[in-house]
Amino acid sequence: MESLIALLVGAPLVGAAVLLCGGKRLDRAGHWLGTLLAVVSFVIGLVLFANMLGRGAEDRALHQHLFSWIPVGGFQADIAFQLDQLSMTFVLLITGVGSLIHIYSIGYMEHDERRRRFFGYLNLFLAAMLLLVLADNYLLLYVGWEGVGLASYLLIGFWQHKPSAATAAKKAFLVNRVGDMGLSIAIMLMFTTFGTFAFGPVLGAAGETSEGKLTAIGLMLLLAACGKSAQVPLQSWLGDAMEGPTPVSALIHAATMVTAGVYLITRSGAIFDAAPDAQTAVVAVGAVTLLFGAIVGCAKDDIKKALAGSTMSQIGYMILAAGLGPIGYAFAIMHLVTHGFFKAGLFLGAGSVMHGMNDEVDMRRYGGLRKHMPVTFVTFGLGYLAIIGFPGLSGFFSKDKIIEAAFASGGTQGWILGAATLLGAGITAFYMTRVMLMTFFGEERWRKAPTPSPDQPSVEPAAETRGEYEPPHPHESPKSMTIPMIVLAFGSVFAGGLFSINEAFVHWLEPVTSFKHGHAPVSALAVTASTIVVLVIGVGIAWLMYGRKPVPALAPRGSFLTRAARRDLLQDDFNHVVLVRGGEELTRALVRIDDAVVDGAVNGTAVSVGGLSGRLRRLQTGYVRSYALQMLGGAAVLVFATLLMRGV
């Protein structure tokens, strides 16, 4: 059995290698090969899953040690895998959703001449992500961690000819790098503290060291999580990441990669449990981000960016839950899985809409599409209901539990977090309804030519500029795209319910992430009720604003908050002014210093030596007699010296 684990990672890795090195001759079959390998690793995952279920709850974890990777003195890093329930969950999510999205991409990327490479990148991503969740030590996890970063860089920038895409890719990688810095420092701390960084010993010995060190480690891990999971303050890259093809957004920036942060924190639970301050920081970040993302999501007119905001906010929920400790881990993961389903579904839906609207992303150019693409409408709608937490659907179960746990975290903190989560739920309902209404209901705004606006020149198709405008012909997407959407829709409808049947999911994870029931100051029923109320309010407001009266073709100026939210709450402006400008100034100054001071000193020495020798050259008059004079002077000096020596 263990040997299969390596295969799990190996299959997509081989796929990536073959597809990327294969060259043109693979162009015809490339996407099939990629999809096949994704499915293969999914099947292997299922096999391992079945096998795991066959064993007792406690000894379900599998270990596979391939070889010693970096052995230097006390520093012993291994290429070794660990497959326990937590990893298993991720493996199934990644390979499952991954396979679906491979299938989807076959249709979606049909007309792209670089499709082979696209599938290569996707496989690379799968491999890296699986490595991330299967690693049995933090260093190997780090490899996967940066691996997914690379894959996301390549995929965001897949349409490299668009400067915006290239820039977004670079930004994503850089921001992630900041997070990775945190992870690497955390690993160093672990090494100096425990002398190792394998999960087993570190988490086992977490209790034995000072809380200060653990807090430091925890905060560093949190920084890493912020980078990868687009949490405040490192969230700025996720919005731009939507430059990538939609399947990428669905797989990497909704379902899997961005949730790696949650995995990291849950995995390192033992450390956080022993470091309350770190936990507080985690929940704070989570709470802030879930509101931040939600607010941003409300203001975006670009459908993908709106969804990105929502992703941010949902992951905020997960991080918050993970920060709550044993009462939250399980729910964090559960929400992660369900979110994986419905958010992927939503993105695929968005992709299908764009596919039908020849790559228009501005929701103000949509409207009344439900008639034209029914399947998309239905699946998207189910995903919508799931995410806003409509009772009975996945989102309801997972999010409701998180809200309960938030309240249960106790004390004022509990109340604050609870309020934040509730508010977040309300805003979620609002902006998702907004998206739904603007896209599928109302008048068909795309029929008439758009009024060009200075705000978003990027989304203007070239046609408008020339004046003549033929409206797009919205049509349902091909089967290869709809089927995955349908499957995901099923997931988003039933997953939550299935998991919650006598807390199956919680108990499944319990051996890894210890679980205990939180005792909320208010009854679970009350929480549920209030959730539903908030939800209704959110939907209502959205309907009042976008359902009743027609959506203006051009975004109204809006309040300051709206404008700020459109600009990601001015985060980018801040970065631009502080980091980009400052950095440029700094480097320019340094260049000047390097030339003037550092190199100047060197050249100065050279020049001065030259000048000195130029002066000395004057002694060379060419007159024999002055030479003779110098000789005599020298002789005199010598005689004088000798006399001195003999002590005159």
Binding site: T621, R625, S626, L629, L632, G633, A636, V639, L643, V648
Partner: protein, 290 residues
């Protein structure tokens, strides 16, 4: 010499002292004259004087052989060589003692005096109370002693100096020898060229007129009594050492006429002025034929 130097002593004979003080003074004066005389010849002569005095000192110091050698080699050979070169380069070529290099003279004086003071100071503190003379060294005769040393201890140095002298001689010849680039012209060719050029068909005139004077640096006179540069060799001309005698020769001519006229008057009154004029004419066409 005085017997006092035959044994180790702390002082020398008074005679030698007197000799030292007198000759030493002369030697210094000669040395100064060497460096201060404007004309090279004078420098050479005063140097020669100094050298002879040094020779005497050698003798006084029991270096008989060296004393003689000094006279023979230095004053005899080397100084003569100098004089020859001086003649080649020009006896009268006097260089002005005006300094051209900036500050050279002062620096030179400073350095020289400083150096001298240092040397003398150095000697001064090398206090030699008594000295052991060359008594036993010269016992078998100074020349024999030297010979013994030269042909035993210093034989290699001696041989090498031999080689050195040969080399020097050859070197001097090589340096001074003028390589003749083209074949020397024969008389015929020379005369033919003169005719071709036509500027000076006849050979150049010889110096000295009427054998009144036979020095090479006196130009011949043209019929009108003016000196002709052509008659002096180019070297002297270059050095500007042509003695101008035109005036004196004319004076001599006048004196001659005077005497002859007197003689004629004493000899008889038949001689008249035109006779005298005829004489002068004769002289003139004699000149013309020259």
């Amino acid at each position: 010499m005085s017997p006092s130097i035959l044994a180790a002593a702390s002082t020398t004979s008074t005679g030698e002292a007197v000799q030292f003080w007198i000759l030493g003074t002369v030697a210094v004066i000669g040395a100064l004259a060497t460096i201060l005389m404007k004309r090279a010849v004078h420098s050479a002569l005063s140097l020669a004087g100094t050298m002879i005095i040094l020779a005497v000192f050698y003798l006084a110091n029991g270096a008989y052989f060296l004393g003689v050698v000094q006279v023979v080699v230095y004053t005899g050979a080397i100084m003569m060589l100098f004089l020859f070169v001086v003649m080649l380069v020009g006896v009268t070529a006097a260089d002005s003692l005006k300094e051209t290099l900036k500050g050279q003279r002062w620096l030179a004086a400073g350095a020289g005096i400083g150096f001298g003071i240092l040397l003398i100071a150095g000697l001064g503190n090398a206090s030699v109370k008594h000295f052991n003379g060359l008594g036993e060294a010269n016992a078998g005769g100074n020349v024999q002693g030297l010979a013994a040393l030269i042909f035993t201890k210093y034989v290699f140095a001696f041989e090498i100096t031999g080689a050195l002298l040969i080399t020097a001689a050859v070197g001097a010849m090589v340096l001074t020898h003028k390589e003749r680039t083209e074949r020397a012209r024969t008389q015929r060719e020379l005369s033919e060229r003169r005719v071709r050029e036509g500027t000076q068909v006849t050979p150049l005139p010889a110096p000295g007129v009427y054998a009144r004077h036979n020095a090479v640096d006196i130009p011949g006179l043209l019929p009108d009594g003016t000196p002709s540069e052509l008659t002096v060799i180019s070297t002297l001309r270059e050095r500007g050492q042509v003695r101008d005698v035109s005036g004196e020769s004319l004076a001599e001519l006048a004196a001659l006429e005077q005497r002859s006229s007197e003689w004629l008057e004493r000899g008889g009154t038949g001689r008249s002025a035109e006779q005298r004029r005829g004489e002068q004419a004769r002289q003139r066409d004699e000149e013309a034929t020259r």
